[in-house]
Symmetry: C2
Subunit: 141 residues, 2 copies
DNA sequence: TGTTGATAGTTGCTTTTGTAACTAACAAGG
DNA sequence: CCTTGTTAGTTACAAAAGCAACTATCAACA
């Protein structure tokens, strides 16, 4: 790379940012408009819906989200009546988080929307490029 | 995409976010540690260094950054003595922004660091994948 | 039992972003 | 001149993120 000719518009971190902002803006409108949720709330909801009841700590590790963000997302989801908490009997520091019916419904709707979004993107890019893209992104993350 | 099997870890917006966070964290350490700059400040500095003096509005359009973010970045760069402002004679609403020597130095250092970073990434991924990645990201952004 | 260290989760404070409203300057038409 | 509408840039307030300190609980061991 010639330093004199360096262009921000082809700098990979910049391109990644632009693409990520663009793409996540589209899908975030879905959970934001439908349920007034934030990104972290959607991710927490997803983990509980997809993998079943677990503690905040487990979500934090599995989803690579800082525990304070998880804590706030859990409170928000609780206020929406999307999940319930139950203090563990073995260790009273931990809480078992479980989706409530409204949370299950939201999970179903949002997961379907995400799958549709993914399908649409795959159609746009074509199956080969879609595969390449995912492989490359996983290598970077 | 089968909805029952939907996995967040292969959802493109999620992957993009993870990759973008990971990659920009690496480079942001450079301008943050060296000059205490934020991402927007680096981008504004870059545009002035690469394309010469221009107004905040022009930067805002070229770099796709909201004018309030540009305004705050310009103030921060001014306080660091990295740029100077001069009210336009033709239209006194506009200010011509120019890099000062310290800003030029920072631009040179950071541009070189960015080019090095890009080279290292290209080495890691290989030239073919690097080309693919950029093409795909540009298609998404 | 009592101390020490670790862990789950929360809270407080500071920094950053988003959004809308604002000021000052311009331009065009009456 | 004097409205009316537009534009460049700033400011104010609210939403959100980052980080450190805190509480409560547990476990281990003297």
């Amino acid at each position: 790379m010639n330093r004199e000719d360096f262009e921000l518009s082809v700098f990979t971190p910049y391109l990644l940012n632009q693409a990520a902002e663009q793409q996540s803006r589209v899908f975030s409108n879905t959970y934001k408009n439908l349920y007034g949720m934030l990104q972290t709330e959607w991710r927490v909801l997803f983990h509980l819906g997809r993998y079943g009841a677990m503690t905040a700590k487990e979500i934090s590790i599995r989803a690579s989200i800082h525990k304070t963000k998880v804590s706030r997302a859990v409170r928000a989801l609780e206020q929406k009546r999307f999940l319930g908490r139950e203090v563990s009997h073995e260790d009273r520091r931990m809480e078992r988080l479980t989706l409530r019916p409204a949370g299950q419904d939201a999970f179903n709707v949002l997961t379907a929307a995400a799958a549709d979004y993914e399908t649409a993107l795959a159609t746009r890019l074509g199956p080969e490029d879609m595969k390449h893209l995912k492989r490359l992104l996983m290598a970077l993350a």
